[in-house]
Amino acid sequence: MTRATTAGASVRPADSLDPAQDTFPKLVVDNATRLADKVAIREKHLGIWQAHSWSQYLAESRLIALGLAALGFARGDRTAVIGDNRPPLYWAMLATQALGGVPVPLYQDSIEKEMQFILDHAEARFAVVEDQEQVDKLLHVRAECPRLEYIVYEDPRGLRHYQEPFLLSLAELKERGAKFATDNPGWFEAEVAKGAGDDLAVICYTSGTTGQPKGAMLSHRNLIVTARNAIEREGLRESDEVVAYLPMAWVGDHMFSFSQSVVAGFGTNCPESAATVLSDLKEIGPTYFFAPPRIWENILTAVMIRVDDAWAPKRAMIRYFLDLARRTERARLAHRVPALADRLLYALGRVLVYGPLRDNLGMRRIRVAYTAGEAIGPELFEFYRSLGINVKQLYGMTESSALICIQKDGDVKLDTVGTPLPGVEVCITESGEVIVRSPGVFLGYYKNPEATQQTLEDGWIRTGDAGVLDRDGHLKIIDRARDVGRLSDGTLFAPKYLENKVKFSPFVKEAVCVGDGRPHVVALLNIDLAAVGNWAERRNIAYTSYADLAQKAEVYDLVRHEVNRVNRSLVEEGDLAGTQIRKFLLLHKELDADDQEMTRTRKVRRGFVAQKYAPLIEGLYSGVDHVNVEAQVTYEDGRVGMVRADIRIAEAEVAGAGAAR
């Protein structure tokens, strides 16, 4: 077999674990003595950051565990955990693990049907949830989840009149736990001691771009070894601070805010609400930060809108220094030394622009930051790095305990995801698919041997991504293996690559490119309401709704300009020059997870979108200049409505060599 392989350096047998510290509960017990008073987790509540030390972390988890034990929790039972990132929910996960059970975190914005599927599939006996919203959802689906016995809620607001006997507050649970402890001294400690590294630690349901969610089973060993290897490679320490704001059900949050936090002993910070993340970020000033490209982009868009509104001389100054920073960063990435004048000016820019900007973003203290989940636009990536923020690309998946490759400090390239972590082997098959073997490789999908067999082969995970390894052993991801296609004349067509280029425009929020088996490429685009809305306001363009704004001729011109720019940049990329976007349209609604157009982690479900908007795609390939469409919209409460619209079709300019075709 001819395979390109690369492996991360490993200093010792990568999956060795001290039996005294081979589970998360054991590690927390250790933290509670070793780092007793150090802050383990903070939560902003009633406007004030409330800190909990590692000894409190253990004490709270212990009470919850004993409370669950009092309700009859047996080893191997599953606890569903649903809600925003809250310390008690992290404690509930640890409590479940301490009793030899398995936490199953669920996406808190899932609609009832999705929750019911996972609750039923995971056979959860217990659910620990945040508030009334989640309780209501569970009460609705409870009839179809016969195994669900108890629902515990953290926030009692609005629940006072609920009489269900299986419903109790976290405070009541802890009371029962305290009573249970006096009757059964040493129970918690004995249960913790029974745990072993190869026990199941968590089941993470992947949202999956196709079909029903699959529950990836990860052991304590998977997570602890992976966390430890990454901590050592990245130089994380107990004084670090991370902000926990991405869904708890997502393996990334489980790795950063739970696994790594417990293993390294660093602090996790839970924002007050989803809407306050940016200002909470500023108050905490994390040293360790993760965000998917979409969030990096939102932050940049928010900044640029404010810059555009600034006083003209100030605006000019910011623009000048941002350009300068980009120039010097490009030189650095190419391993060149920037010109002396640029270096001096950069120092000035640090005082005038970069420092204040970083401070304003809450990123002044960041030592390590990651972006992952989707490819990041090179300009976006450069922007943050040019401000002196150490953003690096990361590659991983639920099935590999979240982490596979990370760019090393000082070895960052725009278009790769870096080199494998210690203990991780990465290989490319003949068909171009990336496969991975590591101590983090999962135990399989829960109750789904068929899917396990498709993904797991001799200890190697098939990632489903198409990639290449470059000369320095960096992995470069091109697209989903199954999404890479060919135009009817045989030209290679990588849709995601094109979409990412278009999406880097602040005006375009989402893009879907179509071209497999077709004569040329067309695109369905979503405008960014904040950016385009602001743009329209400054030009006195009145609009009534998202759909109305998207169909304005001026907005089409604006977006056409962006598409033309992408086409021009494609000319420089040789092979891809043939896949320039000929026609595009602006969708009348945002692609949404509630309509199954995206996954809960906001990845476009390409097949579904192509099917749902088939008339639009046909319109793009025929000569018409507008199409009528009817689309189904699902509201957050599960109701379904129809939206009708008349959508324009626009042509883009084809640049350079592609124009001849």
């Binding site: 009633l46 406007g47 007050e272 609400s273 200002s279």
Partner: protein, 262 residues
């Protein structure tokens, strides 16, 4: 209205009339609002709803009739005296301090609860500091309750209308009222904002036990949240009862749809 099992009345309005020159705004209106209920006052434009609210809150004084609140007569009190009794209100047109932050706006609702010397307040020292922290703590609970954490420090004038209404509700709640008067709390809101507001009104009633009287035009909202509806037309009370009784009352149908003359 004094059916068996009804909790005692918190507010009794007895035959009040209000005249502005030749205009008879209210004409002998009587009603009772029981402790802990959400009462809705409905009626076509110009029916006298806001005038009724203004009389209850002490902004107008009735030409005739009496008002008893918590058992004591208070027909001729001034607005600030009414406020100290535990009656708070919101306005049809939002009346916030536009340049002040949301937090400061809500803090003004605590004004009547603050006692202290000007000097100590200025120095933010001793009892003044302790008191300020206590009030801030209370206000933070309201902020949490109404889910407006994200706009705590935003100047009120920069907020969209729906949020301004919510801030106004927060300010009224800060006074810990026994009776809360809401003048069209959902005017100009979209469906989602209305649903949020309904949730908050029901939540406040449930959590703090606040009695509420609200003016509202959206009948579906009225039917959803209130247990007691009073209908006015041309300054007269034309119906009083449960939402279903009032909805099916011929006088109310006539007032809204015009009288059919067969």
């Amino acid at each position: 209205m004094s059916g068996a099992g009804r909790p005692p009345s918190l507010l009794e309005v007895d035959g009040i009339s209000v005249r502005f020159g030749a205009v008879q705004a209210l004409d002998g209106v009587s009603l009772e609002i029981a402790r802990g209920e959400i009462a809705a006052i409905i009626g076509p434009n110009g029916a006298g709803k806001t005038t009724l609210l203004n009389v209850i809150s002490g902004f107008y004084h009735p030409n005739e009739g009496a008002i008893r609140f918590a058992g004591a007569d208070r027909t001729h009190l001034k607005p600030y005296e009414v406020a100290t009794l535990g009656i708070a209100r919101t306005f049809q047109n939002v009346a916030l301090f536009k340049g002040m932050s949301v937090l400061d706006n809500i803090m003004t609702g605590r004004l009547l609860k603050m006692h202290g010397s000007f000097l100590l307040e200025a120095l933010y020292w001793g009892p003044a500091r302790r008191q300020e922290l206590e009030h801030r703590g209370f206000v933070e609970q309201i902020i949490d309750f109404l889910e407006i954490q994200a706009i705590r420090k935003t100047p009120a004038g920069r907020l969209p209308y729906g949020l301004q209404k919510r801030v106004e509700l927060a300010r009224a709640l800060a006074a810990e009222p026994t009776l809360l008067l809401l003048d069209e709390p959902m005017a100009g809101m979209n469906v989602e904002e209305k649903e949020d507001m309904c949730r908050f009104i029901l939540g406040v009633n449930d959590e703090f036990g606040t009695t509420m009287a609200l003016i509202e035009h959206d009948m579906s909202v009225v039917m959803d949240i209130s247990g007691h509806v009073v209908a006015l037309d041309y300054g007269r009370k034309i119906a009083d009862g449960t939402p279903d009784q009032v909805r099916n009352d011929p006088a109310v149908i006539d007032a809204y749809l015009g009288v059919a003359h067969a």
